[in-house]
Symmetry: C2
Subunit: 219 residues, 2 copies
Amino acid sequence: MRKFLPVLRTCPLFAEVAEDDLLRMLQCLGARIESFDKKYTILAEGNPARYIGVVLSGSVQVVRIDYYGNRSILTEVGQSDVFGEAFACAEVQSMPVTVIANEPCEIMLLECSHILHTCQSNCGFHQKLIFNLMKDLATKTLLFHQKIEITSKRSTREKLMTYLMFQAKKAGSSRFEIPFDRQELADYLEVDRSGLSAEISKLRKEGVIESEKNTFALL
Amino acid sequence: MRKFLPVLRTCPLFAEVAEDDLLRMLQCLGARIESFDKKYTILAEGNPARYIGVVLSGSVQVVRIDYYGNRSILTEVGQSDVFGEAFACAEVQSMPVTVIANEPCEIMLLECSHILHTCQSNCGFHQKLIFNLMKDLATKTLLFHQKIEITSKRSTREKLMTYLMFQAKKAGSSRFEIPFDRQELADYLEVDRSGLSAEISKLRKEGVIESEKNTFALL
DNA sequence: ACAAGTATGTTGAAATTTCAACAGATGGAG
DNA sequence: CTCCATCTGTTGAAATTTCAACATACTTGT
């Protein structure tokens, strides 16, 4: 656990928690750390939503797969970020999504009930954690607004361009990398992969963007 | 203010706040109540995100209008529910959406900074409000997941059916009313209105649904 | 270096959506 | 009751997306 302190201190969930308190707190929260190989399912749709996951290393994807096997990618969650918190905090009976390791990763799982319901020893950190959770959920809501703004566009081209503009803004540069391969990008934008590839080629020919693999540039 | 106590007590934001404390608390939060006519803009895109709105009567819509004038409806917010909280809590500089009165309504506006940052008098209710906000944001996140599940479907028919199934589940009955007219439903599902009308007709002819105005039934 | 598996780009056909235009239905105001 | 504005449903044409199939490029493990 101790070796992850540098990551944990950058985790917004633990913002303003004194380092001394952190380890004790995690103990109290029933924290446990697990490693997952790429593509491994960390939290499965349908299971009870008890855990908040903290990405210590690597990254995970929150996805939903429908009857027909179509995958929809909701978010990509990277190091020191958190997943599953909305379902655990809302205390839903079953997870509506699946969380999958996007690469080999180390994950810390917290029992959310231990955060929500003050323990007997009445640890002082609950209030701070709840505040941090609130902040985190507000931020996540913004990300969903973003995703909806992107996918509400009616054409593949507009979805792609809107996505790329958000990424450029986030990177603070007109040249940037995206965290998705083509199929994943299609599953995030909710469009057909081959159509997406065609659109990227077209935009490139028109001189609107440059791209090579996962690196894009807006011109 | 006092006349709204019955509504305020059912508002999840004030759950477990003693009625005696409520009025004092609202005072401390700089609460003010305003009335709006139908279609009036309550919070405008681009403005600073300082306020949490509480719907005391009537209902409002959270919408985004893009360059081309295409409207996208994000959510409909009814009595005793809250809006704007995600932006205010995340302390974004400017609102990414617009909130519009869906019908004549009475709205209570709270200064979010007064909730987030404990006041000098160190009122005891901050912790409770923050907990309630956290719960609310978690629930709102679920609603966004739902909206994304709906709009991620590739055809108008599937979007509509997925939406109707959620509504049926919510109503606890296969017959239910929806809060949208045709154009609004199209703007929520992110599809073309005329195509939506055509699809509804088709589903009716096929005997999959019954519908008249805003009342639908799944068969 | 090779083979096998995966990812990407390309294409054309089929299905679907969007768009524009209009007609009938509905609802309010006077 | 009538008029006017709005809403809803219908249609056909144009644009777009999806789908399936395939060729090429890239990766990975051996």
